[in-house]
């Protein structure tokens, strides 16, 4: 059933460390996979376009988000409906398409339940969560970090560009290198326990509940850092559910983490940094980027990133939108058109592009489901990405001892997520150990660093939103 091989074997930057070669079975036919890689990546790499059919209209579905949020890649694995993107491949897995609603079948795995009393619970193992854990590493506070992905590092694991700025903010390093470094560092912290492939499902009176395939945890923390990140926005257009349409972040995971090319001829929608960077990465992976389109009259992301892809001859079409795609099993063609200042489509400017993949890089929404369950005060601040928790400059929410950091507090990027994570970490140390000079100084420096970092003109929106997101003094001084 080897329709095609979408794996990347040579890459200018990345070297894919694949596990042992194994065989898995998709609809009874053997396909090649590598132990421990994302099952969705393995299926996709074998050239399979349709993972499942939608339950009512029977429309084809495949990978979209690659981080376990969307449900597009659910198939039956050894009889159990499974989100394949966050499930590691194992020898002999039997995968069946689902063309209806999934069937609930008898579940025989033994579930262990464990109760954990801990000083600090960190929800999310991306840059913000890892940064908090780093500050707490080696102290006398016990820490549990819960992350729902196969690999720790959040979005860093798929970031191949070089960070710039100062050395303390990782200048000269690439995202996946930082993720690896932190992951190693945290694994050596005696007081930090990492629960990977585990999802925090709710906040209850008795504690915070997390589940994995094997266990249920009831965690009773004194302090919490919620650093659950964000998820990708979707866009409305004709046939927007067709396989071949992915979140740009989803495609990045596929390509940069698992070494699988999302497609060959690609249209990127959105010219923010994510859209520009992924376009460059697609070129590095040997794909052709037909165009980057942007509804605004100007490019959204940084000049350096735009210049890089322009040098390769990729057109960036501003004041353009996508009207729809066509195709049977996956995208075969996309229609784009020009828009006026009011974002109305200008008739007669429609143009069709022969592409097999459309990547949506149209922003992110803070993932606030868990933090809201703590009862924290929330506010809708479009500048920060939507509904976000209010916080003090020290990242504490309106609920005492519940902290936030990273994209769920404001859609920004890895560097600010790190700084916020560190601030939250020091705030917890200060609460637990009292106003120690050392911690206070470090925290003040970080707060200043964050302020300086955001003083660049590109951060204007965030600066404005940040002001709106602060808890008024009289409330926070409780």
């Amino acid at each position: 059933m080897c329709l095609s091989d979408r794996r990347i074997y040579t890459h200018p930057i990345l070297e894919f460390k694949r596990g042992k070669e194994i065989t898995i079975f998709f609809e009874g036919k053997p396909i090649r996979a590598f132990e421990g890689e994302s099952l969705a990546a393995a299926i996709y790499a074998a050239g399979i376009n349709v993972f499942r059919l939608s339950p009512i209209l029977k429309r084809p579905r495949a990978v979209f988000c690659m981080v376990g949020k969307c449900g597009s890649c659910i198939v039956r694995v050894n009889g159990i409906p499974t989100r394949t993107c966050v499930t590691p491949a194992e020898e002999n897995m039997r995968i069946e398409r689902i063309s209806n609603l999934p069937e609930a079948s008898k579940y025989e795995k033994r579930l262990v339940s464990e109760e954990i009393d801990v000083d600090v619970l960190i929800v999310g193992g991306g840059p913000a969560g890892m940064a908090s854990a780093e500050v707490l590493c080696g102290t006398d506070l016990s820490v549990v970090l819960v992350d729902d992905q196969i690999r720790l590092g959040g979005q860093l694991i798929k970031q191949t560009h070089i960070f710039f700025g100062s050395r303390e903010l990782f200048a000269g390093k690439r995202g996946f290198e930082i993720a690896e470094e932190y992951s190693n560092k945290l694994s050596k912290c005696p007081n930090v326990r990492v629960l990977d492939r585990t999802t925090v499902i709710g906040v209850f009176k008795e504690g915070v509940v997390a589940v994995s395939d094997e266990a249920t945890y009831l965690i009773r923390p004194k302090y919490v850092v919620v650093a659950a990140g964000a998820y990708e926005n979707y866009l409305v257009f004709e046939n927007n559910d067709l396989p071949g349409i992915m979140g740009a972040g989803g495609a990045q995971t596929l390509m940069n983490v698992w070494g699988v090319k999302p497609g060959n001829e690609i249209l990127v929608v959105g010219s923010g940094n994510v859209g520009l960077i992924i376009s460059y990465q697609l070129l590095q992976a040997g794909a052709e980027v037909k165009a980057v389109i942007e509804a605004l009259p100007r490019i959204g992301g940084w000049f350096v990133h735009a210049a890089k892809i322009r040098r390769y001859g990729v057109p960036i079409l501003t004041s353009h939108t996508i009207l729809g795609v066509k195709g049977s099993e996956r995208v075969e063609e996309a229609t784009i058109a020009r828009v006026d200042e009011g974002w109305n489509v200008i008739r007669g400017t429609e143009k069709s592009l022969k592409v097999d993949t459309v990547l949506l890089a149209v922003g992110l929404t803070p993932n606030t489901e868990i933090v809201r369950q703590f009862g924290v005060a929330m506010k809708y601040i479009p500048e920060l990405g939507g509904l976000v928790p209010l916080r003090t400059p020290y990242m504490e929410t309106s609920v005492e001892n519940v902290f936030v950091a990273g994209d769920l507090a404001a859609i920004e990027e890895a560097t600010t997520a790190f700084i916020e994570g560190w601030i939250a970490g020091y705030s917890i140390l200060i609460k637990a150990h009292g106003m120690k000079e050392e911690y206070l100084t470090k925290r003040e420096n970080l707060v200043r660093m964050l302020y300086e970092y955001r003083s660049a003109p590109v951060s204007e929106k965030v600066r404005k939103g940040w002001q709106l997101s602060l808890i008024p003094c009289e409330v926070s001084a409780k």
Binding site: L101, P102, K106, Y107, E108, F204, L218
Partner: protein, 379 residues
Amino acid sequence: MQLIEVAIIGGGSTGLMTAYYLAKEGIKNIHVFEEKYLGFGSTGRCAGGIRASFASDVHIKLMKESISKWLSLKEEIIGLDFVQDGYLWLLTTEELVELHKKLSAYQNSLGVPTRMLDRDEIRNLVPIEMNDVIAALYDPMAGKASPLKFLGSVRRRLRELGVAIHEYTPVTEVRVSGGRACSIVLDGGREIRVGGYVVVAAGVWSKDLLEKLGVKIPLKKDPHHLLVTEKYTHFIKPLVIHKETGSYIVQHETGSLLVGAEFPVPEGDETLRYGYLKKAVTIMSRYFPQILGINLLRVWIGYYEVTPDHHPIVGGVPHIENLVTATGFSGHGYMMAPVIGEELKNIILEGKPRIPETKELRLERFEEGKLLKESAIFG
């Protein structure tokens, strides 16, 4: 000042059904006022089970009528998904079996065709691990309707009928003058005159509104948890109740499963309890191990608004001629909504309900000490 004909306070199933039956009679200028969004208070939080197999004459007669209404509503309103897939009470002790044999005979005498099932019959009905189940009581007349589909489809139908729905519009007060409810006051102070009737169908929150008018109403908030899962192929048709613990499971036509369990929550502290989740899953997975591999979506708390005799309060209130209320459903408001909506319409248009049993639900029964009897309450 705006003048409206009927002001319905409460955008839950009872208020919406009242609006529906009034609008169907051609009544114009009907306005529904909801504090949050339709179904926020109780309807959107309920499991959606519908049955006539009760243990009191009043409940049985009204619910038989309500079920026939649910059947016609399914034809009248596109998208409403009522199905008569039955109720199944799993019985795990000999005492429960004996009790339910008697209950079934009583229900049969009132025309509700419940019957006892043995273990083989149960297995034919649901994919169950029998464990300690001895027998079950089955009610083929009962069924279910997804509350979310109900809310969406009824909203659409009411819009077609010209009913005005005002969401995020709390009513803070009903003004009475000369024995008539003459206006309602919205949050923010805006007053709207009511020419015809005021209907108070605000669930447990009816109490506050009516007490401001000097109407004493014996309602207690009783918080209950519920959970919903992702959608799966239909594998459990009837709503299944584990009688001994009051836990239950129902799978709607949409594929979502709802699992309830009794887990008392002290008043004033309505934080979600993990104990509930654990109990619900532990008990139900003994019989349906399939649910252990299913993804949980949400857990929430909703209120049963409980009266001392677990029967609702329906009809007028003393000293106000044009105000009617329907509340105190004690966990059965959604299933009763069609019959109660129609009866409120009858009270408004004809001055009295059509079904004799509705009269027994009058508020005055509590002061007179004439409480009704019911024993088939479950979680």
